[in-house]
């Protein structure tokens, strides 16, 4: 029997797209997400280039599509642990980790109000804290609270259980395993920021005022830890002079030998964040090549015209810190001016690249030499989005739409042939 349903793993922009497109076409879809909310990395972005529009706008539409789509069911806090079978007939074991909060939750916030412990907020890349009972973020979908099992004091505390009028809290909740039978699988587990701490010369982790581009998104976001004020982590000072260092990890055989495709535009976009927050600020972008493909060139041209934005051709060799002031000093060769420069900045933003997060442990999942989902490895399993190669959002959506069709073909193929 050919199973006509599709499993989509990962509910970032690629997974959401693949799942919704397939469901709206009339196929039954299961969407599995390891976080407690849908939206993935884009939910943590402040704006998209080149339109500078908020990702939550498109996510809101996608969530509305999910709300009205009966063919689509999603599981949060869930991970695929086992895949067996073949195209048209896969059996997938999914482990759903305990959320400790059930469907009764009305998001009334009473549990968080009484919760006595704090946890580091990884949604904001650990720049702030939440209570152990928390809503992942204001736009979280589903709008339900979660309890961090590691931080929670458990039943001996139990304050939240008392505070909840809806019997929504189950501190005894256990992980459960769900078995899904599907005809095709779309693997869209996305990417993770390359660990900038591995680039010793740039001082991330040693110097507080060296941050990464994903952290910058949170600093600029009105929903972020600073309410959208772009400040130095060391002293909370509003930034005047910011450097962006491109290819921090990308195009580098010691780190990611490929280009991460989006960082040039992301940094140009983030330059506009800085200028919006403080029109008098100075921004420098250190680059090897500016890669603004297609009509993104217009955006590049526009930012380049900003009088307070300077582009410096030359990848910095290292970043130093002035221990007294917390200023960070970028040492680079300005190749077009043919001189060595040592410039002082309030903040350095490393354009760290995209490492695939395919999850090498999953059986049947074919990965290539760099850990991306390889093309045509296993019939019926398709990569979508950045787990396949580094992509900007629109390209990831396109790719996910095409993966949805591939998955649909897998579910009808044997019917057509047989």
């Amino acid at each position: 029997m050919v199973n006509k349903s599709v499993l989509v793993v990962g509910a970032g922009i690629s997974g959401l797209t693949a799942a919704i497109e397939a469901a709206e076409t009339g196929f039954e879809v299961f969407l599995v997400e390891k976080e407690a909310y849908l939206g993935g990395r884009v939910a943590r972005m402040n704006q998209y280039f080149p339109k500078l529009c908020p990702p939550n706008c498109g996510l809101e539409i996608n969530f509305r599509r999910i709300r009205s789509e009966h063919n689509l069911r999603f599981l949060t806090s869930a991970e695929v642990v086992q895949v067996a079978g073949q195209e048209g007939d896969f059996t997938v074991a999914v482990r759903q980790n305990p959320r400790f909060v059930n469907e009764n939750c009305t998001a009334c916030n009473k549990c968080a109000e009484v919760c006595p412990v704090e946890r580091s907020n990884e949604f904001n890349y650990d720049l702030d804290k939440t209570r152990a009972a928390y809503l992942p973020h204001s736009f979280a979908f589903p709008t339900r609270y979660v309890i961090d099992g590691k931080a929670c004091l458990g039943e001996k505390c139990g304050k939240c259980v008392e505070a909840c009028a809806y019997e929504a809290i189950e501190l005894k909740m256990q992980a459960r395993e769900v078995t899904l039978k599907v005809g095709a699988i779309v693997w869209a587990t996305g990417w993770e920021p390359y660990d900038a701490g591995r680039i010793s010369a740039y001082g991330f982790g040693r110097f507080p005022n060296v941050v990464t581009n994903v952290i910058m998104e949170r600093l600029a976001s009105p929903l972020g830890p600073t309410g959208g004020r772009i400040v130095r982590p060391s002293d909370g000072k509003e930034v005047q002079k910011v450097a962006f260092v491109q290819c921090a990890g990308s195009r580098d055989e010691n780190h990611l030998p490929f280009c991460s495709s989006v960082c040039c535009l992301a940094s140009l976009k983030q330059a506009t964040y800085v200028l919006n927050a403080n029109p008098g600020a100075q921004v420098a972008v250190y680059y090897i090549d500016i890669r603004a493909l297609g009509k993104f060139e217009d955006f590049f041209a526009k930012v380049q015209l900003e009088p307070n934005v300077t582009l410096i051709k030359g990848k910095p060799g290292e970043i130093l810190e002035d221990g007294q002031t917390g200023d960070v000093i970028v040492v680079a060769e300005d190749q077009l001016a043919r001189k060595i420069t040592q410039e002082r900045y309030d903040l350095v933003v490393l354009a760290t690249g995209m490492a695939p997060s395919a999850g090498a442990q999953v059986p049947l999942l074919g990965l290539d030499d760099r850990g991306f989902v390889a093309p045509d490895q296993v019939p019926g399993i398709y990569g979508a989005g950045c787990v396949k190669r580094p992509l900007d959002v629109a390209s990831a959506v396109q790719d996910a739409t095409s993966a949805a069709l591939k998955a649909i073909q897998s579910t009808v193929r044997r019917q057509l042939n047989g």
Binding site: S200, A201, R206, N254, L320, E321
Partner: protein, 291 residues
């Protein structure tokens, strides 16, 4: 634990106290070091330039070929020697063209090598084979409160695979300092080059580098290093630095093995503190060490 030990020219000569202290510490830790028989110079940073990489690396391989049958690892304590031996060995193992060339060349001198020897840096051996816990357990004279700058230098740390230590901000030496009861100070330039190869032709380059490094050591009272050239430049030329830059550095620079010997409370005669030019006596006196 048994190893072959490759001393190299410096450790035989100007850095004799390194060899001496290493042997003392090894004895204390039940490590047996047998000298590589009839070893030859690794070529330092020079041979590759004068005769080419491959011929220079063949010279290094001869040293490994000497001991291949033993099954023992070769431990190297000089950064430059380690770099040359390890890189030659790695190339022999990974580059088939070089392997063929080297095999023929060694044969021309009646020797054979199959690439089986492991070349190891002393610090890595101490970290991995001995372990800092065992070191700490052996400490008899904890160096409490002593602020030490761990200067790793350049070549060894960037030859060792990344997995062992960060090539720019290494931590193993700091951990060792900690194991001795002392405190490793923050030291941004701990893996920066001291400029050794310029000491003779253009000493001012070395002085400039050494000044930066000494300055970067901050509040350290003492510096330790695993490299004979670094030790020589920072110690013997410290007065030159002071002369050239009007500074007043008075930082004793010890081989890390000397500091281990101090913490192990070995007999001072066995680890050669007298060879140190910036006198470590005043700093070590408070720990009861008579130099």
């Amino acid at each position: 634990m048994r190893y072959f030990f490759y001393p190299g020219c410096s450790m035989e000569a100007g850095a004799g106290s390194y060899t001496k202290s290493l042997e003392a510490v090894a004895r204390a830790l039940d490590i047996e070091l047998a000298e590589v028989p009839d070893w030859n110079c690794c070529g330092a940073t020079v041979a590759s330039s004068v005769i080419g990489d491959a011929p220079a690396q063949v010279m290094s391989l001869r040293n490994l070929a000497m001991v291949e049958g033993s099954g023992l690892d070769v431990v190297v304590a000089c950064s430059s020697c380690y770099m040359n031996l390890a890189l030659a060995n790695r190339r022999f193992q990974n580059d088939p063209r070089f392997r063929a060339l080297a095999t023929k060349s060694l044969a021309a001198g009646g020797m054979q090598y199959r690439g089986k020897v492991r070349v190891r840096f002393i610090l890595e051996v101490i970290a991995n084979d001995v372990g800092f816990e065992r070191i700490a357990a052996r400490v008899k004279r904890p160096l409490k409160g002593l602020k030490v700058a761990g200067y790793v230098g350049c070549q060894s740390v960037r030859t060792i695979p990344w997995e062992f230590d960060d090539p720019e901000q290494p931590v193993a030496l700091d951990e060792l300092i900690g194991a001795l009861g002392a405190t490793a100070v923050p030291f941004p330039l701990k893996a920066r080059c001291c400029g050794a190869s310029h000491t003779l032709p253009q000493g001012e380059i070395t002085s400039s580098s050494c000044r930066d490094i000494l300055e970067s050591a901050g509040e350290a009272r003492l510096m330790v290093t695993p490299c004979p050239m670094c030790q020589l430049n920072l110690d013997a030329y410290q007065s030159e630095v002071n002369k050239a830059y009007g500074t007043n550095f008075q930082i004793p620079v010890l081989f890390f093995t000397q500091l281990m010997a101090v913490a192990f409370d070995l007999a001072p005669s066995t680890y050669g503190l007298k060879a140190n030019i910036v006198a470590p006596g005043p700093v070590l006196a408070q720990y009861g060490v008579a130099v």
